[in-house]
């Protein structure tokens, strides 16, 4: 089996997620052809062949043409990308150009049957592509990155110049106060924190976890924190990867605003608190003891 792995270059840097593609190929025991398009000096370490195509890092028509050319030459069984802004943008173009089936955001594979999450991970779908070349995008983080080993044989190419969408430049997302709705991690405090000064404990933990600080409504009611931090149906509705609820009992309005989070961990003294209905893990603890100890352990 042969897999063509396509790396993502942003700002002249190769995205380290390339190692996850290598990990995936390693699990299948596939022969690897790496393809990195864009001007970068980053070189991944693996055993196999690496094609470096110089040119713009986002130019879908040129990238598509380069993959087509290489697929014709290498005849891989799989073309694999990470399901990212680059991967999901290029993969469907390849599917049409190469008349190949495409499967998105693969999180597991067994015997040629791919598992993908649907309905926000509430269900898992098993998909089988038609025989022949298949285009895959892998769910970020689903496959363990390969340990760096070996050095590939390098082939240098230049991207053709083709009309189509072209990169004008990059810019940072405008920052406006706390925007919890897009936060990937949230440490949220409820009345169980006791008093205004104690919010600092949660703020420190949030800093260590690179998380935003959220809160329940009573904390805002009490004037301990600015209303922009309020999570819930009467505040901001959030769906982060991690929601750490500290001293939040879980009023329905709060639950409605955060229960779609991927991983909910509750820290509460009261085992009966309704937050337990949505939490995956429930740490039965006193916040004053637990939060500083956790912060220290993570530092």
């Amino acid at each position: 089996m042969k897999a063509m792995l396509i790396g993502e270059v942003v700002g002249a840097k190769l995205n380290p997620s390339f190692a996850e593609l290598l990990g995936f190929a390693g699990r299948l025991g596939a022969e690897v052809v790496g393809l990195v398009m864009g001007d970068t000096s980053d070189r991944p370490s693996f055993a196999g062949k690496l094609v470096l195509a110089a040119g713009p890092e986002y130019a879908p028509q040129a990238h598509k043409a380069m993959v087509q050319e290489l697929v014709a030459a290498e005849k891989p069984d799989l073309v694999v990308l990470v399901h990212s802004a680059y991967g999901w943008d290029l993969a469907p173009r390849l599917a049409v150009a190469l008349s190949a089936p495409q499967i998105s955001e693969v999180k597991e594979v067994t015997d040629g049957v791919y598992q993908v999450g649907v309905c926000n991970g509430k269900l898992v779908r098993q998909l089988a592509p038609n025989p022949g070349l298949t285009i895959l995008t892998l769910q970020a983080g689903a496959f363990a990155p390969a340990q760096e080993s070996g050095s590939p044989t390098v082939e240098n190419k230049t991207l053709p110049s083709l009309p189509g969408p072209g990169l004008v430049g990059y810019k940072s997302k405008p920052k406006t106060g706390v925007d919890l709705s897009k936060a990937e991690r949230i440490v949220s405090v409820g009345r169980g924190i006791g008093k205004k000064e104690n919010i600092e404990l949660a703020r420190k933990l949030a800093a260590v976890l690179k998380a935003e600080l959220g809160s329940s409504r009573p904390v805002v009611d009490a004037g301990w924190i600015d209303p922009s931090h309020q999570v819930g149906s009467t505040g901001t509705t959030v769906a982060p990867k991690l929601y750490l609820a500290c001293g939040i009992s879980g009023a329905v309005q709060h639950l409605a605003g955060m229960k779609k989070s991927e991983l909910i961990i509750a820290v509460n003294k009261d085992k009966e608190a309704p937050i337990g209905e949505v939490a995956r893990y429930f740490v039965v603890a006193d916040l004053m003891e637990f939060l500083p100890a956790l912060t220290e352990a993570l530092q």
Binding site: R191, P218, D221, T234, A251
Partner: protein
């Protein structure tokens, strides 16, 4: 023996009397013009439906105008206003009698009635009324300008008419004194006893050089007459307009149960605007209300939004609406009033309940919200737009799957709808909120103890639509209502009980407009009936509680006694909050505010919880899922003595005897 009477127009030359009549006609003409010109303002709105029950309306208007029961409800200003009104009324009546005698009965019939004992009584009544009027006017004046009354709107003409009234009353007494000095003092002393104030003044006037008396009297009389004419002409141009406009407003009151809102006809495809966008969308009564307002500030004093520093004053809403209407330019109403102000209303109805002028604030506020939502797609915040979306898709504002609505009742002793005594309409909070699910379970337990069979609609139940309706989303409300009505009708439901005052109001009253007729009870009513008939027993305890009256149970439906009877049944140490009953202070969640973030001012729920805490109670008991949610949040943040929030049903269920000793049925 001297004649017990007086010479009318004593010391007044005939030509001066003619001038007086001329001026009177002139000032009356100004007054009439002042009122007539308002008609085109009133006419901007929609066509008024003809008044029903005209006799009853006139009776009510007269009774309110003469006896002023609503005005009297306010301590302080109420009695001041009423005694002033009655005493000034007597003075006015006195003047009318003079007119009747001099210009009608005497010239036409040769009959004079201001004589003898009647004149004595007349004299005394007028003299004392004048004194009362001066004192009351002084009281009102000092309240307005020196003490107490906060947030009143002061207009320049206010001072003018206060001055005018003081001078009319003052010159009246001086005229009486000067006349009595000549015609009664030492001439008919027994008669002078019937004008005690005049007599005192007359005695002082003895100090005047005698040759001053007659010219001074004539001069003062002329001044007095000019002041009266000014007063009459001023009526339509100042706060005094309420003398005419406010009593008339009692004729126009909406003959509907409390809390009624117009059910919009959404099938009518010719309709291009919905809600109150501009004055032409207003009802006649809405425009008239803005003119009948006396700016007394009673609404504002009780408004939970105003009292927590939000940009809403019901009084100012009416004033701002009036300004737009009187501009005659069909301007935008919501912009004039301020959108933040309109969204801040909790529809608690304290304003309407205490308005002495029968002004309907809430239909106007909801009408303007309707225009914002239905015509502009605007909401007070994204969270409300999301709740609307969830209501549309899942039939509840919290976004839970509609299929899980009945899950809370798994394993509980409920029966099929066909076998049930009552269908328990659980509502969104009872169905989905873990805290309020406890209340729902408590009701099931109580019903079981009392031998009442309950059923629920489960996944077929939808939100009653109340929060959407109060937020102005009549379209969404009606689509939810129609779904529920169709479900009730398909199952032949005749009797419904609910633990939510908002569902209660909506199913029991609002759905009537959509043709739904089932009997709807609040759980408090049902349990009170069962309690009165000894259908269940309760253990007694001494826990200290206070009761928070939900707006929609109390002010809207006058259900004050049932919960208190039941509290008495558990024998708890009960203490009222200062603001209870009709004066109850909203929790902050009505009017669809349960869906919205409270971004402005201080927290209403915290203010209310603090009032509960002041009673020394351990428990603040309420009978509404929204109140419970707000009180739960507030009590968690309360400093000082701990206070717990509980629903009455939970308190009762926790006082049920153990099942084996239950022989209540």
């Amino acid at each position: 023996m001297m004649e017990n009477s007086r010479v009318i127009y004593w010391n007044i030359p005939q030509f001066a009397v003619w001038v007086m009549y001329l001026l009177a006609v002139l000032s009356l003409a100004v007054m009439v013009w002042g009122f007539v010109r308002r008609l085109k303002v009133y006419a901007q709105g929609q066509k008024r439906r003809p008044l029903d029950q005209v006799g009853g309306r006139i009776f009510r208007a007269l009774s309110e105008a003469l006896f002023q029961q609503k005005v009297a409800r306010e301590p302080g200003i109420g009695p001041l206003h009423n005694y002033f009104f009655w005493s000034f009324g007597v003075l006015f009546l006195g003047t009318v009698l003079v007119f009747i005698q001099t210009d009608l009965t005497e010239p036409l019939l040769g009959w004079m009635f201001l004589e003898g004992d009647f004149y004595k009584a007349y004299s005394l009544a007028l003299d004392l009324s004048g004194l009362v009027a001066v004192l009351m006017l002084g009281g009102m004046f000092s309240r307005r300008y020196f003490f107490g009354a906060q947030g009143m709107i002061q207009k320049p003409l206010d001072l003018v008419f206060y001055l005018d009234l003081f001078l009319i009353l003052g010159t009246g007494f001086f005229l009486e004194g000067l006349r009595m000095l000549v015609t009664e003092l030492g001439v008919n002393d027994p008669l002078s006893q019937y004008s005690p104030v005049g007599l005192v003044l007359a005695r002082y006037f003895q100090l005047l050089p005698p040759e001053w008396v007659l010219p001074l009297h004539l001069g003062l009389w002329s001044f007095h007459m000019v002041l009266v004419m000014v007063f009459i002409a001023l009526i339509p141009f100042s706060r005094l307009k309420h003398l005419v406009l406010t009593p008339v407003n009692y004729l126009f009151f909406e003959n509907q149960p409390k809390g009624h809102l117009e059910t919009l006809n959404l099938e009518d495809e010719t309709q291009e605007t919905f809600g109150y966008q501009t004055p032409k969308d207003l009802r006649f009564k809405d425009i008239y209300d803005t003119d009948a307002c006396t700016s007394c500030a009673r609404c504002q004093d009780r408004c939970p939004a105003f009292n927590t520093n939000k940009p809403l004053s019901p009084m100012k809403v009416i004033e701002d609406l009036g300004k737009v209407c009187f501009e005659l330019k069909n301007g935008n109403l919501a912009e004039a009033v301020g959108k933040e102000a309109l969204w801040a209303c909790t529809t608690c109805r304290a304003c309407m309940e205490f308005c002495p002028a029968e002004i309907e604030h809430i239909p106007k506020i909801v009408g303007m919200r309707r225009a914002m939502v239905l015509m502009e797609g605007e909401f007070p915040g994204e969270e409300v737009a999301k709740a609307m979306d969830d209501l549309e898709v899942n039939g509840n504002p919290l976004g839970f799957a509609k299929a899980t609505r009945g899950d809370w009742a798994a394993g509980l002793p409920l029966v099929e709808v066909a076998e049930a005594d009552y269908v328990y309409f659980t509502g969104c909070y009872g169905s989905f909120d873990p805290r309020n699910q406890q209340v729902a379970k408590a009701l099931v337990k109580l019903a079981q103890a009392a031998g009442v069979k309950l059923a629920i609609l489960g996944k077929e139940e939808r939100c009653c639509g109340e929060p959407a309706r109060k937020m102005g989303n009549e379209y969404l409300y009606q689509s939810l209502a129609k779904e529920n009505i169709a479900t009730f009708e398909s199952k032949g439901v005749k009797k419904i009980v609910t633990a939510c005052p908002h569902c209660f109001q909506t199913l029991g009253q609002d759905y009537r407009d959509l043709g739904f007729q089932a009997e709807v009870l609040h759980a408090n009513q049902l349990l009170d009936q069962l309690w009165q008939h000894y259908k269940f027993k309760l253990n007694r305890s001494g826990v200290k509680v206070t009761y928070h009256d939900s707006c929609y149970l109390g002010r809207y439906n006058n259900l004050f006694e049932a919960p208190r009877n039941l509290l008495e049944g558990v024998g708890v140490g009960f203490k009222e909050m200062e603001k209870n009953g009709l004066e109850s202070f909203c929790c902050g969640a009505g009017g669809g505010r349960i869906l919205a973030e409270e971004k402005l001012g201080t927290r209403i729920n915290l203010k209310r919880a603090t009032m509960a805490q002041k009673t020394g109670a351990e428990l603040v008991v309420s009978s509404c899922p929204f109140c419970l949610t707000m009180m739960e949040d507030a009590t968690k943040g309360l400093e000082g003595e701990p206070l717990k929030a509980m629903d009455l049903l939970e308190l009762l269920a926790s006082h049920l005897p153990e099942p084996k000793s239950n022989e209540g049925q």
